[in-house]
Amino acid sequence: MLQGHQSWVFDKHPVIISTGVAGGPFEAAGALADDFDILHDDTWLGQESFEKAEKKLLEEACEKAIDKAGMKKEDVHFFLSGDLMNQIISSSFAARTLGIPYLGLFGACSTSMAGLAVASFIINAGGASHVLAAASSHNSSVNKQYRYPTEYGAQNPPTAQWTVTGAGAALVAAAGEGPRVTGATIGRIVDLGISDPFNMGAAMAPAAVDTIEAHFRDFNVDASHYDLIATGDLGRVGHNIAGDLLIKHGVDIPEDKFTDCGLLIYKDNQPVIAGGSGCACSATVTYGHLLNRMRRGEIKRILVVATGALLSPLSYQQKESIPGIAHAVVMEREGD
């Protein structure tokens, strides 16, 4: 149900009945290790390639989510998933294993919330009773495709970010217990001319700000409506820029309420430079850490704004700037 110009309000309150979160060794050593369901100490997961390892992570996260809900794969109506690989192979190949009717999504790192928004819309409209939304990324498979070989010795600038190895899945249902999805805002592309692929935070920050402003406008609320507003993977650089941009645009979000998944996931002593990034960044932090906090009652209503940089290795070699996008989803604690 359309709300304002670019938002949906979910009046039937779709429920996230369970989540599955998987991660790699770097995430196991990170700040949120306790919030992962499955952690691996081998970045290859015993697979022959990084791509297969990523697919495996996604499969595990999905199976975990279905398992935790006490359901079978056959009971899930649709599977919505995306990743960063060419032709989103991780998602499609995981869908081949799962055998659930599947729609592939590409929104780069914003895919997690794009998937959750669409899944909630389907549930709210009565299009299904159970929809699985997921996203994945793998540090090495992403580096291989977008940047340099993993072992290549190039010096990363201080604006570079570390792609999260992991996958997050949320099982959205028409009824049940768990956090409710009550609204979503679909972002538009914002491109303010940043063309450096080692500076994704600055490229995506204006998109996050645009979506947050659109969300507040469409729902006629302000930051006080939320206990926490978390962006997807802006990292330290993008987070500071987004904070200052919001102030410039007259939008007030108190500092203790405004955070970024890319800043939460790793410890300060890990060599991630400006913070985490990748599809799995917002997916694992939201479906793991943030929803766990909500289940414990520490936070009641959150807005997650997953940010994506829609570039390709080809587009930046052809000197195209980086189009940024952000999608926001509202999650609320049950009964509050």
Partner: protein
């Protein structure tokens, strides 16, 4: 950023570029230079040691010792790359580990390892020179141009 590039951007984009630039951490140029000097210097000292070693213990001259010295450095670099150490050293050392022959060995080894999953021919063979390729292409081309210039000057009676 050059002015030529800025001209293509709209006013809002130019304004944001400045806004973002003020908030981005700069590359620590002086520290990077110092690290590169130390790391590059150490690698060269190591090379010097190998040269001395091959000249003292094997019958190499100052000129012929170059080949085994380079080969030794390349093997060490390839080993450190395959053990997953070289990229961590390089984040600290920057140009210090890229410029010497060890950096060149690293580009080829890392690409070969990375694309092993696509098979030996299309994977390793096809991608080994993905990063090093431009260096070889333009290196050979520059050598060709310099050689032509040298020949022309010699024929004209110079040198």
């Amino acid at each position: 950023m050059s002015n030529k590039k800025n001209k293509k951007l709209s006013a809002a984009q130019q304004e944001y570029q400045k806004f973002a630039k003020d908030r981005e951490p700069k590359r620590p140029l002086l520290t990077n230079c110092l690290h590169a000097f130390i790391a590059g210097g150490l690698i060269c000292t190591l090379g010097q040691f190998f040269q001395w070693f091959y000249m003292t213990y094997f019958n190499f001259t100052e000129i012929t010792a170059g080949s085994p010295t380079q080969a030794t450095l390349i093997i060490i670099s390839a080993l450190l790359t395959s053990l997953g150490v070289y990229d961590h050293l390089a984040q600290w050392a920057g140009a210090g580990t890229i410029v010497p022959v060890t950096g060149f060995a690293n580009t080829i080894t890392s690409a070969a390892i990375e694309h092993r999953s696509e098979g030996y021919v299309l994977g390793v063979g096809g991608n080994m020179f993905k990063v090093a390729g431009p260096v070889i292409t333009f290196g050979v081309f520059s050598a060709f141009v310099v050689a032509i210039i040298k020949i022309i000057i010699q024929k004209l009676g110079g040198i």
